[in-house]
Symmetry: C2
Subunit: 223 residues, 2 copies
């Protein structure tokens, strides 16, 4: 993990012709897949249909994406990295919950440009809704979430100078926080307003209900 500017789009500019071709093929597959997924549905789309749209072989698809599922989460992965970067940038004086809260809200404010380099922002919004409403993808989405939860817990523990395995508080705080995040994401996916502003507002409102208990200063207080 080479830490660069945290909110910078991860597009290191491809150099050789080979690299550029690869990038182009991958992007084409990604866009074609999301477009098909969001119109015909995930289950209703076969890998053969995706590769036909881009005119490559099925084997090539599976060299770029380990599975049909993986391509559905390519953009989501960018967003997650974006949030983690924002969290790492939070000043040390902020309490854990406060830092996480500010990181999400800032991330939602700045993620737009980074996404647009790969796919239209509106396609990402539709993709997110599709993930939330497709059981098989929702399952994977949740597993990815808790994998990130573990990373964030370690990050928070480091901030507070705690041992993540000895002190339950980092994991508990992150678990509670993520539970709320997941709930807002779910409600957003089911709701009417599919804008970035909507998810941001929903997040802010729901986090307000988590109470000051977890936001209290931990340092000096024993477990």
């Amino acid at each position: 993990m080479t830490a660069e500017q945290p909110t910078a789009p991860r597009t290191p500019a491809p150099v050789g012709l080979r690299e550029r071709k690869k990038r182009r093929t991958r992007d084409a597959l990604l866009r074609a897949a999301l477009e098909l997924f969001t119109t015909r549905g995930y289950e209703g789309t076969t890998v053969d249909e995706i590769v036909d749209a881009v005119d490559v072989s099925q084997r090539t698809f599976f060299r770029y994406f380990a599975s049909k599922e993986e391509v559905a989460f390519a953009v989501q992965q960018m967003v997650e990295r974006h949030f983690v970067a924002a969290l790492a940038e939070r000043p040390a004086h902020e309490a854990p919950l406060e830092a996480m809260r500010n990181a999400v809200l800032t991330a939602w404010d700045t993620i737009g440009e980074a996404i647009m380099e790969v796919v239209p922002i509106e396609l990402y919004l539709r993709t997110f809704q599709m993930i939330e409403s497709t059981p098989a993808l929702l399952a994977v989405h949740l597993r990815r979430s808790i994998e990130m939860e573990e990373n964030i817990a370690r990050l928070i523990a480091d901030r507070e100078g705690l041992d993540v395995d000895a002190d339950p508080r980092p994991r508990v705080a992150v678990a509670a926080f993520s539970g709320v995040m997941r709930t807002t994401g779910h409600l957003w996916g089911r709701g009417e307003d599919a804008s970035l502003e909507a998810i941001r507002a929903l997040t802010e409102a729901y986090l307000d209900h988590l109470g000051p208990a977890l936001a209290a200063d931990w340092r000096g207080a024993p477990a």
Copy 2:
């Protein structure tokens, strides 16, 4: 959903010969599957191997279980029903978090017998660990968890006389609670002590850290 004694094992005793045969086939498939899963691994076990062990056709397997995944969660489903039943039995004066906490702890105390009617308790423990350590199953496990979360949120909202869609508190409380539960389950699956007592103790300890904020009395206080 016919509500009987909440903590009673769900074994309505099969009547006809046909029913008993069905039950036997299903149980045999279940046991064979879990035994193979926990020894050779989930991915390392084919459906053909399961049906060979029981000597039925593959088609029969898929008539009892919608998928290879489903059979892995058959026992888990019992445990979940057990918890929901225990929660429904909690006296009305208990605050939401208090009720959920007591329901889990009671459930862990009484689930043993119900499980043993179907599979050895030790096989269930191994199965749980396998689920937690198999990515594909972990994903499904998490999705099942949030489906239950939604049910519990409605149950809690009913207890408190709230509208689950208007007031965020039921969903927030349940989300935070479930987040902690998930974390303890995960840690249990990765830990050394695979006993029921261990998961119960872990649950109790971790829930203590969720703080009194969510446990406060809601009635009368506006959102």
